[in-house]
Symmetry: C2
């Protein structure tokens, strides 16, 4: 799940998609989510889609890499290349501003589903049994509920509910994160998204979560043992 808000200052806010999915039905499905400098992440996505070529000549290489590991390597190399290209350009010393991070998720037929987090340096780490999820971007406000609420036995619908609560906490605390959200659920051995939706500001489910979570938190708080000065 990703938000869509980008800003260069609170007086310059725009909506841009930060989640991208490619699939070859029956063969592979890949989702990439992005955080950080928008020009950097758009440049990477454009190169992945080979938008510099005529439409008839485009054969996105992530659809041809033999393994998800090689997909992640490819995305990492592109990301590092874009950031380095800007760092060595005519405007010096601005490298840090063009940084970005990505999450790459997907599965190729006859192999396991894989989930990677890619750093600006182009290297990456993979999710594991002990660390089953990643966050990028504005991670902190929404993290406590993920740490407390996540459970490996959750089904997809419960996991989406948890994401809604986590994003709600972030949106309440930071103006630079905002609706609409993009949601993509990938199930094992389906090779196309199980579920995809854009959650807009008027989404009744998200708004129900947001208001009932405030209430539920307050009730939970009141049930805790009280502190006494004596």
């Amino acid at each position: 799940m990703s938000d869509t808000r980008t800003n260069s200052g609170v007086d310059n806010i725009s909506v841009f998609r930060k989640s991208f999915t490619w699939s070859v039905p029956g063969e592979r499905v890949i989702t990439i989510m992005t955080a950080g400098n928008l020009a950097t992440t758009q440049a990477v996505i454009s190169q992945l889609e080979e938008r510099n070529k005529a439409p008839s000549e485009r054969r996105p290489s992530i659809l041809e890499e033999p393994t998800m590991f090689q997909v992640a390597t490819h995305v990492g190399n592109l990301l590092r290349g874009v950031i380095e290209g800007r760092q060595s350009g005519p405007v010096q010393g601005e490298g840090a501003r063009f940084t970005a991070t990505m999450i790459v998720a997907g599965q190729i037929r006859d192999m396991e589903p894989r989930l990677f987090m890619i750093y600006p340096e182009g290297n990456f780490i993979e999710a594991s049994f002990d660390t089953p999820f990643f966050q990028i971007g504005e991670t902190k406000y929404g993290r406590p509920i993920l740490l407390r609420g996540y459970d490996k036995g959750m089904d997809f619908e419960q996991a989406v509910k948890l994401l809604m609560v986590s994003f709600d906490s972030t949106v309440a605390a930071n103006l630079s994160v905002g609706l609409p959200f993009d949601l993509t659920v990938i199930a094992r051995d389906q090779f196309e998204p199980l579920h995809q939706r854009r959650i807009r500001a008027d989404d009744p489910y998200f708004n129900a979560i947001s208001s009932s979570w405030s209430e539920a938190l307050r009730n939970a708080f009141h049930q805790l043992p009280d502190y006494r000065f004596d």
Copy 2:
């Protein structure tokens, strides 16, 4: 409330008090909390206590400033001076590393209680009806529950309970925040702390909050409406 953990890397963790209280019973009470570079904040506190003088000659000026505004101005000037002193010293370009932020709270007789947040630049803002509390340091993990749980009608004991929950979320997410915590409660027109305590790792109340909050959050989460894919 403040934690006591300082670190220069996870392999170099120490316990230092970050909360300091001075009072002249019946006349004034002042508490200062610190976040940021420890050498900077210790230098400010040492100067406030005039530790460069013989004990018999110390007359800490914050105990003589006529108003809390002047106390905040004095602390701000000291803080800025310490940071600038380091920036212009023999090791150049390290200014950003020596930054620090402070909260100054207190009351002087015949005046209102005041609460200030002091920036590394030495200027400060004051709490108000609309913004009744401040956080410094690692603020984000613990902020959502403060935003949702805080209520101007709370008594001091409820507010302490809320702080325990907020600190618990932060401790669970960030190794660089840790027990013991220092707690100081200042009530109007008392001119000495109403309540002061160090909360240690074996504190039964904090541990009860920590474990029952996990449970309460999960229950609250399960009470929310479920997401459905159809």
